[in-house]
Symmetry: D4
Amino acid sequence: GYARVDHHRSLRTGLPEAVYAPGKTPDQCAALVGELLAVDGGPVLLSRADADQAAAALAHHPGATVTGDRHRLLAWRPAPTRPGRTVVVSAGTADLPVADECAATLTALGLPPARLTDVGVAGVHRLLVDVDVLVEADAVVVVAGMEGALASVVGGLAPGPVVAVPTSVGYGAALEGVTALLAMLSSCASGVTVVGIDNGFGAACAVSRLLGPGAGDGG
Amino acid sequence: GYARVDHHRSLRTGLPEAVYAPGKTPDQCAALVGELLAVDGGPVLLSRADADQAAAALAHHPGATVTGDRHRLLAWRPAPTRPGRTVVVSAGTADLPVADECAATLTALGLPPARLTDVGVAGVHRLLVDVDVLVEADAVVVVAGMEGALASVVGGLAPGPVVAVPTSVGYGAALEGVTALLAMLSSCASGVTVVGIDNGFGAACAVSRLLGPGAGDGG
Amino acid sequence: GYARVDHHRSLRTGLPEAVYAPGKTPDQCAALVGELLAVDGGPVLLSRADADQAAAALAHHPGATVTGDRHRLLAWRPAPTRPGRTVVVSAGTADLPVADECAATLTALGLPPARLTDVGVAGVHRLLVDVDVLVEADAVVVVAGMEGALASVVGGLAPGPVVAVPTSVGYGAALEGVTALLAMLSSCASGVTVVGIDNGFGAACAVSRLLGPGAGDGG
Amino acid sequence: GYARVDHHRSLRTGLPEAVYAPGKTPDQCAALVGELLAVDGGPVLLSRADADQAAAALAHHPGATVTGDRHRLLAWRPAPTRPGRTVVVSAGTADLPVADECAATLTALGLPPARLTDVGVAGVHRLLVDVDVLVEADAVVVVAGMEGALASVVGGLAPGPVVAVPTSVGYGAALEGVTALLAMLSSCASGVTVVGIDNGFGAACAVSRLLGPGAGDGG
Amino acid sequence: GYARVDHHRSLRTGLPEAVYAPGKTPDQCAALVGELLAVDGGPVLLSRADADQAAAALAHHPGATVTGDRHRLLAWRPAPTRPGRTVVVSAGTADLPVADECAATLTALGLPPARLTDVGVAGVHRLLVDVDVLVEADAVVVVAGMEGALASVVGGLAPGPVVAVPTSVGYGAALEGVTALLAMLSSCASGVTVVGIDNGFGAACAVSRLLGPGAGDGG
Amino acid sequence: GYARVDHHRSLRTGLPEAVYAPGKTPDQCAALVGELLAVDGGPVLLSRADADQAAAALAHHPGATVTGDRHRLLAWRPAPTRPGRTVVVSAGTADLPVADECAATLTALGLPPARLTDVGVAGVHRLLVDVDVLVEADAVVVVAGMEGALASVVGGLAPGPVVAVPTSVGYGAALEGVTALLAMLSSCASGVTVVGIDNGFGAACAVSRLLGPGAGDGG
Amino acid sequence: GYARVDHHRSLRTGLPEAVYAPGKTPDQCAALVGELLAVDGGPVLLSRADADQAAAALAHHPGATVTGDRHRLLAWRPAPTRPGRTVVVSAGTADLPVADECAATLTALGLPPARLTDVGVAGVHRLLVDVDVLVEADAVVVVAGMEGALASVVGGLAPGPVVAVPTSVGYGAALEGVTALLAMLSSCASGVTVVGIDNGFGAACAVSRLLGPGAGDGG
Amino acid sequence: GYARVDHHRSLRTGLPEAVYAPGKTPDQCAALVGELLAVDGGPVLLSRADADQAAAALAHHPGATVTGDRHRLLAWRPAPTRPGRTVVVSAGTADLPVADECAATLTALGLPPARLTDVGVAGVHRLLVDVDVLVEADAVVVVAGMEGALASVVGGLAPGPVVAVPTSVGYGAALEGVTALLAMLSSCASGVTVVGIDNGFGAACAVSRLLGPGAGDGG
Ligand SMILES: Nc1ncnc2c1ncn2[C@@H]1O[C@H](COP(=O)(O)O)[C@@H](O)[C@H]1O
Ligand SMILES: Nc1ncnc2c1ncn2[C@@H]1O[C@H](COP(=O)(O)O)[C@@H](O)[C@H]1O
Ligand SMILES: Nc1ncnc2c1ncn2[C@@H]1O[C@H](COP(=O)(O)O)[C@@H](O)[C@H]1O
Ligand SMILES: Nc1ncnc2c1ncn2[C@@H]1O[C@H](COP(=O)(O)O)[C@@H](O)[C@H]1O
Ligand SMILES: [Mg+2]
Ligand SMILES: [Mg+2]
Ligand SMILES: [Mg+2]
Ligand SMILES: [Mg+2]
Ligand SMILES: [Mg+2]
Ligand SMILES: [Mg+2]
Ligand SMILES: [Mg+2]
Ligand SMILES: [Mg+2]
């Protein structure tokens, strides 16, 4: 095989088996997905696949759901839906690829989220009309670029766990996501946690960890 | 009063009412603690208090537990213990002040943690002997400075939520915690989330959010 | 004299004559203030003066108002109040020294501001109750550290000019104000402008510029 | 629709409704412009559109003015000219795309500016011959890359509000605009305010805020 | 000739003569290789060659071994194998191009390494099963991107020299290798040394230095 | 005990047992040294101890050699001298505390070094007169601040392993050692490796690793 | 015209009239060159021109000398040679485009330089054989990337003015020239001055300033 | 002796022998000065000396001139005045310590400068009244902090060599001199060269190099 696949990880940590496509050939992508599907168990993902990588993987392993375009995600053997009200909140249209990757990963993990989109804080009333969704959520993912202020506002409204994903959206002083990242880490709303820039996948994994193991991943 | 205290926050978000002492006079600290205690409810904390600030607050409001020295935390009206096995893992002796602040906050929130200390990854066998503690935890906080590698190793061993706290421990290329911060955000262990540098308090709040409301904070 | 004082500046730009105290001896401070008072005209300020600098300046030139403590400002010959509803909004208690310097400078310039303090975005309802103050203001200064999200929320609520002052409040990933600075510059609320870190004085000058010359400065 | 358009913003803040094209498909651009035009009111802008995005938007919604090339701006329903002498000052030829975006936005907002171009400070006499334009302006926007020194010189000559736009012009130590940004924020000319790198649009919005509502945006 | 080739270096420092291809024309590459081969002695390398550069060099100077694809290395006149158990450990699939450049350089220097691949610390058991390889090695090279934690774990297990190579693998907060670089420099495993980002070639040279001169380079 | 001492490390990696004093109380220092001395084996070090920490450790555990002042190092149970010609080269007077820490650690490890001091590259002849020392060395440590150029020159002259230690010497653009660090990592002399800023201790450990186990540490 | 050409600059400062091509259309380049040639006087340069820009300028204004490829420079009306022994020293092959731009500018200014190429400090003997050239020079330009150490060594050997040009040569920790820039600014050789990254043109202008006005530029 | 003093440097490079006091004991300062004075030749300097260091050096070696306070400079055996009109221009009062160190070094080197102080660009008329001094100078040093714009304006007015010294004056976004440094390196005035932050000494050495050897240093 191309790699020493860590077959025990999904058992140990309740996370999906995932292949990160960038830098791999279409053949490598297909082969790695095959190795993961050969083991019984939970969901298998191929993330950030371009058109060729996706086509190769689907040709060898049909039946995946395909989501997104710039951050294309393929999911085989999705987990059955498990309890847990999850929400993905995103600030602007340009944040959607990251938010969609997060939502698709959550769905594959059995945790299909509600969505609040285009609720950037420059028009805070847009968020406030949906405050009930935030208050009742078991986990909230906030996806925002530029100044990342949405994480602080959501963190003040939602009582449950809030995972913030800074995005590389913006130009100039947005510094390709570093500004949003630093801002989210410095949030005045206590108890907000942060993952890496554009890492919608990681935020979904964090939510999966905290909502506990589902049927699909060994629980 | 000195400040517009947000009396509704603990109800809304299950977090403690807390006063951050640095930059405030002893009198301001005492007065702000008093305003928070005047409202019925959960725990009230004074964090990072120096000796004078602590003395003033205790003189006006006796009965607090006092923890730590460099990051001194005072807690009034601690929450009753609630379900949830929490663990605070720390890398070296120098990370203890941050880890202790986290543990004291968790205790005040009704979630007294188990502790694994001095388990830096340069001697990974020290961590492996306690792997069961990690596997069975409902939430793990990892506190590490320097290169912050402990978060990745713990994230690979613990199946539940892992919150990483980078510390400013180290010198030179450790860049006062920025190195550990970036490393934790780039962790190859998916689903690890991160709070700000030295923010043991914030990590405890994140754990409180994900373990749900306890008796002490309105649940 | 110690310096080539730019006597024409207040005429040219409608700004106060100001001496920035740090790095000057008490004698130099007193002498420079004296040179500025020797010219007819508008307000004369001594900013960031420590106790000795302030005492020396007052001994030679009595009659100044003194504001603040960490950022002590002395003002001689304040301008008469001129039209213009100004507001200084600040996020937390620790931002007060910068907000106070800004307010004292505005007052000396004839533009005494309304104040909204302790309205950080983690409890956004605290700001919303005072939205009318923002809507009716002729100019708003927003003072915030940590993640600086307050600038975006205020920028979305206030229709008039909004000047944001990042502060060095916070620790770790707040990077001594750089995080708030970058966030404010990347604000999703269009048309918010920004001054340097902790520069409450500069924000007041910007407001003075945009509200036009007053009686006190040559207009 | 593709997005939760904030229809109330132009009423609330006197700003244009604007769509930022990068990262959107031509169809999305056209549709979003359509949603904004469907509401009565002021100017509607499409900024940073490439040729395809512009063509799609114009095909569905004819009648826009089109300005610029690298930072192409389309404007529908421009506001009638309103009082206010605005000036856009720029340092070099390479700064023109940003300066032009600013000028086109101001024009759409009813505030067509005078222009001073190619007045970089290495030949300061070029600026001094036009000092009257600066002295009489109600608002000045300064657009400069490299070391951004123009903002300080203009700030010392113009008595009214000065908004500085750092550009990403230059190479090497210009750090894609960060150097000009930091320099403008550190300007020794008090009361100069700054927007993000290359953000000519934001500077125009800032000017619109401070000159008050015009006929076109609800005033 | 195109350059003042330092013919004495291999004698002086036990290092290979190497041409770094990027920025050179195919003809320049071929000519420089020729100049180096014209001198008696040890191995001659052409590193980071693209397809055209490699073809030109091989056309003029046949007989090279060619390794890799993204970091293509050509080696003429490889050194005979000399004593020294070397190991190249790498974290993930994406780190392979750098690890392969290192291994190919070591092989050309007469030090063909054992390989441990795909042993990232999120599944630390993968590394532990091969701990004997680390314990018995005379020199270990660790190649890892993202958070670079592998260097610390290996540094704690291997008693001999450990050279760490940070890679630019990862996105967002991985900062194109800077995060791994800083982390490796801050390693809690004492005595780990570090080379530049993606510098697999340099790590091989470092190993060659410490294992002493071989038959091929003048020893 | 205060800490989970890693008693097996010296056996596993041929490194000294060391306590890093900063941030520990004198009592903690003494106790930790005691725990290490209680185990049979090689050298025990206390590094960066201030006067109080040194006094406490010596009072409880007499017999240590004490070296240096700003970076004071105490060594108990030094290893017998083992084969290996080591050299510590340093650039300027201000680099001596780091170079001395390195030399004292090497001495405790049984590898007392030759010293070349004050041989900064601005007077390269000072280094060239001692080139034989470099050519014959089994390992060279280069200690330099400011621009760190000494590492490249030494790396070109010495055929054996060269470990570079950037120091925080210099002001302004020296950026507290970051400039020297980056320069050393970018050295045009291939195969130079680097440790963290001011980390003379780490460089000595690296040398110990590569010269193999001595009598004092289990070999 | 496209720009407010500063016709007096060459008179005032003894510098060439120059057009920086990047970001301009071929037509703009030709027109700007024409405006400069229309004034009597010294050399006129077009720098960093691509093939189209060069062709357009030459078609309208024949007779220029053309130098280089990646940093192509066109020079009209070169100055007669004037007194002054100038030298351009460069470290590696990859630094040649910047060194060539510098040399071509010097030649156009009447100061054709001697050249020392490929004298990187990893083989310091290559530089020492030409030390006489350095000792007798009236001005030396040092061009180096990576760690930029060449500036310090040359600065210690040459008694006259030394201008250092950091280049963006290198990868990883070379940070696109920032490392060499910082190193040159921190040089232990006193009195070395520095220009911006890759700014061979600027270094030539600096040399022209210090060698005084020549026949071609008004002197 | 404490250090390997480079006795040949002043002969080789026309620079003063200088001891940089910070980090040395008073005794070391006195001894090093003594070693330098023991050799025949030019000026000997002790820079950045505190009161104790200065006293010790003067006690052992009377007769030095002492300049400045924060950057105290002692000079023995000053060079006779040599031809060359030098000027030191500085922006604000807070830049004076650096400007004074530069002027005192120039004086010791036989090049006593004219001074233009307090001519920051926010009041550009202050500089223009003295433009003749700049036009006739053989070398100009510009000392400025904050945004460093003064270097560009002076560079456009002075035809001769201009050496810029960024200072650490300013707060917040001035980044302790990094902002001024980057701005000066990016100056739109061609041919301005730059030395390190606060390095008034280095700028004087650069001027000495370009004005050629004087009687005092071997010429
Ligand atoms: N979109 C993604 N973003 C971040 N990490 C990912 C992503 N997709 C997969 N991963 C992680 O990357 C690892 C797979 O890397 P590889 O072995 O190179 O395919 C898995 O452990 C995943 O946890
Ligand atoms: N608190 C302050 N923050 C920033 N700038 C200030 C402050 N106080 C005064 N200034 C400016 O500093 C200049 C005075 O500097 P100086 O000539 O050194 O006293 C004046 O032009 C003021 O505009
Ligand atoms: N892949 C590589 N990475 C880093 N340095 C290299 C590499 N390949 C060759 N070199 C070095 O680059 C130098 C050759 O540069 P050049 O003279 O430009 O061909 C040699 O001294 C090698 O040590
Ligand atoms: N104020 C100063 N700033 C920068 N470099 C200095 C200064 N004073 C002396 N130096 C340089 O520092 C070196 C002396 O360093 P040291 O041998 O440590 O005393 C001399 O070569 C001087 O060129
Ligand atoms: Mg939107
Ligand atoms: Mg320990
Ligand atoms: Mg508060
Ligand atoms: Mg121009
Ligand atoms: Mg893998
Ligand atoms: Mg010295
Ligand atoms: Mg070469
Ligand atoms: Mg002044």
